[in-house]
Symmetry: D2
Subunit: 336 residues, 4 copies
């Protein structure tokens, strides 16, 4: 039984993570942390957990967490996360980091897009990117895994086969992405207040969303070529779900069937990617760890449509998938 700790357990990804881990036959949650005062019971913050997890939220030091746990999931904000994680990596505790701190491949890009100095620059570029469908072979031996971003996972899973197989132009990629509101986190903000975003759709952070360099770097890494994307996120009035509608330019004449087959082949042994014929809807994957992908050829362009549940495959589900691989468990444990 692996003793698990969760840092920053008050948000939506932590809640989903806890619900998944409660089903896991090899994991036991032993610590949940938060800076909230008064050490509230976890069920005060997450009423869904009433009667399911008997722990209080405590403001524990990295050392204490490392002592109480075999594996730690950090749901802390970027910069804060690396600061804590650095202090735990000297022990043999395993760490899965939900923040962006260890995802990018170089410090300069991180500092440019995130606007802060990196607390642990020497580790940048050496940490495995925890997308098991692409980097699954590097995960088992890792002490630290950088859990991917939600938009990022969707876009990467959609594009990796076509880029790795040299089907599409790596410099002419448009990713029109749509996300449910839980992706914006649980901190009260005007923009995610119900009467602001309900019954409305809009683009946001056009041209400057931080998942842009992550998509580019990981797709470049995976496909061995320089990839550039135009990424536009939109906020959709729903709790969860991400849909990416991706426009790519084929480098040679292709058919839809050829692309679907290529994708099916690419993900043959990957239990959580479903290449489908129909147009995928976010509801098809809601509450699951699946990524559904399809392709259409329209007027000479390839459209790739991919969707996930942003809180599961886009955060906590893939984290559990990484946890399973790191510990040698069945990849699907707690996720099927």
């Amino acid at each position: 039984m692996v003793r698990v700790g969760i840092l920053g357990a008050t948000g939506y990804t932590a809640l989903e993570l806890i619900k998944l881990l409660l089903r896991h036959r090899q994991a036991r949650i032993t610590a949940v942390t938060s800076r909230q005062e008064g050490q509230p019971h976890i069920s005060t913050v997450h009423p869904q957990l009433t009667g399911r997890l008997d722990l209080t939220l405590q403001d524990l030091s990295p050392e204490t967490v490392a002592a109480q746990c075999d594996c730690v999931f950090s749901c802390l904000p970027h910069a804060a996360s690396a600061l804590i994680i650095m202090k735990m990596l000297d022990t043999d505790v395993k760490v899965i980091d939900f923040s962006a701190d260890y995802r990018l491949r170089d410090v300069a890009t991180y500092e440019e897009w995130y606007g802060n100095r990196h607390p642990d620059p020497q580790r940048i570029g050496k940490v495995v990117y925890g997308l098991p469908e692409l980097f699954g072979d590097q995960i088992p031996g890792s002490q630290l895994v950088a859990n991917p971003g939600c938009y990022t996972s969707t876009a990467i899973l959609a594009l990796a086969p076509l880029l790795c197989k040299q089907i599409v132009d790596p410099k002419d990629l448009i990713i029109d992405a749509k996300s449910g509101v839980s992706g914006a986190g649980r901190t009260p903000k005007l923009t995610t207040l119900f009467p602001e975003c309900n019954e409305s759709i809009s683009a946001y952070s056009v041209g400057r969303h931080r998942h842009t360099p992550e998509i580019e770097q990981i797709l470049s890494l995976a496909s061995g070529q320089q990839v550039e994307v135009l990424f536009t996120p939109h906020l959709v009035p729903m709790d969860r779900g991400i849909l990416c509608t991706i426009y790519a330019r084929p480098l040679r004449p292709v058919t839809e069937d050829e692309c679907l087959e290529l994708m099916q082949e690419f993900y043959r042994d990957k239990p959580f990617v479903r290449v489908v014929d129909h147009l995928p809807a976010t509801k098809d994957v809601s509450g699951t760890n699946y990524c559904d992908i399809s392709v259409r050829l329209v007027r000479g362009r390839l459209l790739v449509l991919a969707c996930i549940d942003n809180l599961i495959k886009g955060a906590s589900g893939v984290a559990v998938q990484n946890f399973n691989l790191m510990h040698g468990f069945d990849e699907r444990e707690a996720l099927a």
Copy 2:
């Protein structure tokens, strides 16, 4: 042309008020206030108003507002509202107060339910309650009108006919009320964050919602007897709309038809109350100043079902209705 000022113009009721007044042929908005720094243009705070109202939000003194306007709508919070209004009533500016400050009939009840000393206690009980269907004859001559609460208006319009006509027991009234989220205001709070209240319904403030004494006092005043209600508000995942499902006990045998006729007669000349045969839905009145009401007799109880748009008939629409009556305009101006 009446020059109009709006105090506290950053919220949802102010936005709806402005949209209604822009259609009003006898009103011109000349001042909009807010304590926000930097005097932002109103369209920065309310993008819906782009190109429709060219004013900046300013932190004006009561004297300045009184000098620039013939009529002022206060959308300030309770206590703050009376503090400002007091200072304007020496001039001949007319005032419509959206806050609860002048709604209740006695200071003790106000201070018990609102938890603060009343800034202007000697006026309490002397200000007309601006529900035109019941107190329309007192509004034309008034300098100050207390604009009703949203739940309150719905419950009062639903129950007034049956209470005034002695049809139902005034001490056995259950009001199960459901409201859209805009009723909770525009200040970011965890409880009204989209992923918290979307896909969920719950009761809140059970037994202690501040509209309780308002409903009781105004219904007592209107019907000449002591009225007591059990009022339970619920938060519904929609922008706007209030539905009250009211359970009353008849004092003598009645039929549905008799009650419907009695209600139709009661509201015969009231343009914004529609007594209907079908079960009303909040969507039927969304964006309008209507209150739809129906009655059902079930197992010896009378059910009254009433709905409004909380931002219109429950706030800004009734305010414009009051404005019209105060100035001798057609009651329906800007509202039809």
Copy 3:
């Protein structure tokens, strides 16, 4: 491994049932039926099941289903359901009926409320009502279990302790119920079209909803006295969830704490009822088999607030709970 069949597998409850059973370590789905032509693959009708269940929907005879399965869940409409089930009960197949056919205790009430002759009148009143928290001891030996209605379960679980302990008047009970739209089924209808019910709330079937006699009969049976309720359902713009706000009149002075303790005691060993201090929200139980209940005392009335996920605890979850009890499995298998 129990071989499971699902009759009428195209709707929402069947989909949820399948998803739960796929997690069940002792069940294997071997047949899914539908009258749809062309024997479509189950994933064509339910894209969520892509890659998870490899069966086609077939229009099988009761005999064939009985031969292929050890246990059958019927998701057929009332009347149609009993007609099929009757034919299977001669074999030793176990049956869990989602329809209302075997829930009521007498034929006359069934025929009055459902408007059709009962196909299997002699079994009426002899079939166990599958609410494990109340009738759990009768379920293990049963061949046929009547799976409860969704509103019904919520109302019964909320009221049973107070009625069984003689705390409240059994003739003065008002149940104001609110349900998400999935409760109305998957057949396209104007009333459940998105633009009709989104952004709207309304009551429906006032005084004539078919769950009324079910609530009354089962609560009468459970508490040993004649129970009468006034039941008002409402349609809420959300996918799933039921909240019952229940107004009851205490027969003697009580406190909130006393009632909460009494309820906690009543449900002490029941894993899926959570008696909570806070006001429950449907989101707290969404996707789970929990029923959350709380109590408030307001102006001499007891308010009981209870919520469930209508598709899980209100249909497919409780069905799996019954399945577990009928087969001697852990009650929580596939549900935790």
Copy 4:
């Protein structure tokens, strides 16, 4: 006072049209038609209209409608619409057709995309396309106006300035469009059932949506060059609103400011197009006849973001705008 008839008055666009016309000081609705049996009162079909319009839905012949009205709005489906309209054009009744029958410029394209023979082929290409911002000078003298499609209007208004001014490549245009569910009409269908499309987003009709040729033909006509677009519609869980996110390739280096100014100039005297600096949200235009447009330059591409209310500017609002122009009224009458 213009006597107005509405053909096919049971749907959402007809409802919005009626609500707008009730505010119009020069229009009086005299006939509303439907094939529904029993001549129901309009308020039975549209409860929102209770007490606002006292007409019954009748199955009138074209001749009768033409005799009772000066101007007719047809909300009939394509093909059915032209069949009726043809018969009225011999009288001097004016007609505004909501269907696609007279929008396209040639019969072959119509028959290819709509799959039926055109009932009135000789008029095709001679009817003015009722987008006042582009063809406003041709509308005043017209007897028949083809009211534009909803996606179409949004896309055309967004792209016309950049295409007319030769800023972007007319053959490299990607339109990623998102629409609320009311756009799919009021006929019950599985795909627009609440529990199907709520909490979900998906693309539909990829590569084969009928607004594709309409966008291309009208933009070609307006800009004097062959325009080709890749158009992808998505269904968003909200009642109303369309957002188009458009990706265009500049033909020469441009700046955002230059494009914004060019657009502001292009729409200088057009009261219902607002070129804005911020990213537009559909909520900003909900319930209004505005189209909000902005531009961003990202990695060498121009993104044009445009939104409307699909039922107002995308259907009934623009129809009233056309009505105003045809009759010499202020373009903004009933729309401000």
